[in-house]
């Protein structure tokens, strides 16, 4: 059990956005976090990576909570934010070095991996450029390369497909599959449902700060037989119902 979110209540100010969220991710599993804008996807993610403090409930990664051991907890996470945030004054090469330094990576191995990733995402000739001047898609690629440079046990990927070219989307999905096979867990929030349907093992459907339902596609189909066959159909019919049970 890599990630376990239990009775999570939380949000940015005193008003809770998340009301009693429960779900987990097992080793080697890719879980899709699905929900409308404002459903609480990014808030959930911000709680997991420790940017926000839960009002109540707990989040554990491999049985460690942030309060027990910050270093161990955070060292297991790699995070790709929804909108790429890069250092204005650092080059692409320095961003990679920053990641290696932060995760204490073995430099030779890390550079080997980095060069492979850079070639995949066609950034290998831009090492001395400033990512701050890149397009959104290119900056997103920088964040992806940095995250997959690490040996994290839990990858948290917030809406990765926006602005990426189709080739990069494909390469990212390959990377995710590869890491999954190696035993890493991945939590991915997205609106691109047909991709999610093809790649995710399970889905957590958030609505209005609560887990509306969760399970594999066949479990969802069994739960809502009249809704349709694809994740898209099931999700649309649930969203239109406004999350009513």
């Amino acid at each position: 059990m890599t990630l376990k979110v239990k009775n999570l209540v939380g949000g940015y100010s005193a008003v809770p956005v998340l009301k009693d969220v429960n779900f987990d991710i097992k080793d080697g599993e890719l879980v899709g976090l699905i929900g409308l804008n404002g459903a609480g996807k990014s808030t959930t993610i911000n709680h997991i990576i420790g940017l926000l403090q839960p009002f109540s409930g707990s989040i554990a990664i491999n049985e460690t909570t942030i309060d027990q051991d910050v270093k161990k907890y955070k060292g297991q996470i790699a995070y790709i934010p929804e909108s790429p945030i890069v250092y204005k004054e650092l080059t692409l090469k320095e961003h990679l070095e920053m990641t290696m330094l932060a995760y204490d990576l073995d430099l030779d191995k890390a550079w080997e991996r980095a060069n492979k990733l850079l070639t995949t995402f066609r950034l290998d000739n831009k090492l001395d450029w400033f990512p701050d001047n890149f397009s959104k898609g290119m900056r997103q690629k920088v964040m992806i390369v940095c995250a997959f440079l690490t040996d994290a046990k839990l990858f948290i990927i917030d809406e990765p497909f926006l602005g990426l070219d189709p080739l990069a989307v494909n390469d990212l999905l390959d990377l995710i599959t590869e890491r999954k096979k190696q035993g890493a867990s991945i939590l991915m929030s997205t609106h691109v449902l047909d991709t999610a349907q093809r790649y995710c093992d399970r889905f957590v459907l958030l609505h209005d700060g609560q887990v509306r339902t969760e399970g594999t596609l066949s479990e969802l189909k069994a739960e809502f037989p009249e809704a349709g066959d694809s994740l898209n159909d099931i999700y649309l019919s649930l969203a239109r119902q406004g999350g009513r049970k």
Partner: protein
Amino acid sequence: MTDLFKKRLSSHLAEMLKYLRLVFTDYFVLAILFMIGAVGYYYSQNLNRLQMHIWWAPIVATIYFVLVSQLGRLATLVADPDAVFLLPREAEMPAYFMRGFRYSIILAEVIQIVLWFVSIPFLQRTLGFGQIDFGALLVAVIATKVFWLLGDVIRKFRLSSFGFEKRVVHRFCLPLLIFAVIFWGNSVVGAAGAIFLLAIFAVLVRNINNHPVVNWHIAIDDENSRMHSLYTFFNLFTDVPMIQSTVKRRRYLDIITDRIQLKSKNSFLFLYAHGLSRDTEMSGLFIRLTVLGAVVLAFIKNGWLPIVLPLVFIYLIGFQLIPFYFHFDDNAFVHIYPFDNRNQVVSFQKVILMMLIFVAVIMAVVVTIVNFNNLATVGILIVLEAVEIWLFVYGYLPRRINKSINSRN
């Protein structure tokens, strides 16, 4: 992590140096020297008129030292991406922030000591402070600044510290308490209290090592707002690309902006009027200086100051508004839409004219109320205000804008 801080510090210092060279031009240095001289002269002249045990001396001294203790902020040099990139290194962030503390403390304490020194003649004359008092005061001033900065370090961690992490407590309440004790009670007791508080903060700051969960939102917001105020200052002298301000709706100003006719020639008028009324950066400067000027004038009666000060304030306010001319340059629409750019300067002049007239009227009203017995002063002031505004808006402003445009190309 400490290497990271060192690296950032050296690039930060290089950046500051670049801007400081632009700030301290010959003219500005001359102006500052002149101002220090004028303030010093005024201070020494008025010292002779003060008597022992004036009732307001402890109040002024307390306020002075609480304000002095606010000078010199904690530089942490964290940046937005740190929340992502330094995620796995959070356990080492206490050491990082303490580097920031050690760097910040030097300048902060130099400022404290200089301003402590400045207060000596005043305190000697009005409160009869002796050597022991001054010694105790110096200890309190230094210790207060240390725990003020430590409080700011603690604040960046997600740790309950009995409320000491709250800014209003460590920045304001505790310093106020200490200086109130010194100036109303006993200076040695006050100094001992400051040392005691310092000890508490020293213990609290060790706690963060045991539970180093960084509150990134606060840490990053704090540093961004510190850098923002630095950049705002530099922005008065040169263009700073990092300045981004926030916007407030301010519905009540719609009465003014709605009067602008929606015609092509008014395009820039429309933009400038809406921009200046909603941009918190500019309107903040405008309101602060206007209120400050009005308050200062409310206390000054007779002599030449009620005439000179409004003129100085009008110039200062107008001068600070000038960079707003370029506010919309980064907006693609300004370049895409079929605007007539000749109207840009004229529109800007119109808006600035309105704003300066507003200031002039307020200042004139305050001066009139205070100097009701001396209407000659009021008359001279109104005439000079009108002349100044006319010269500023139609003489200085276009020249200054042209100069800026040329230096940009």
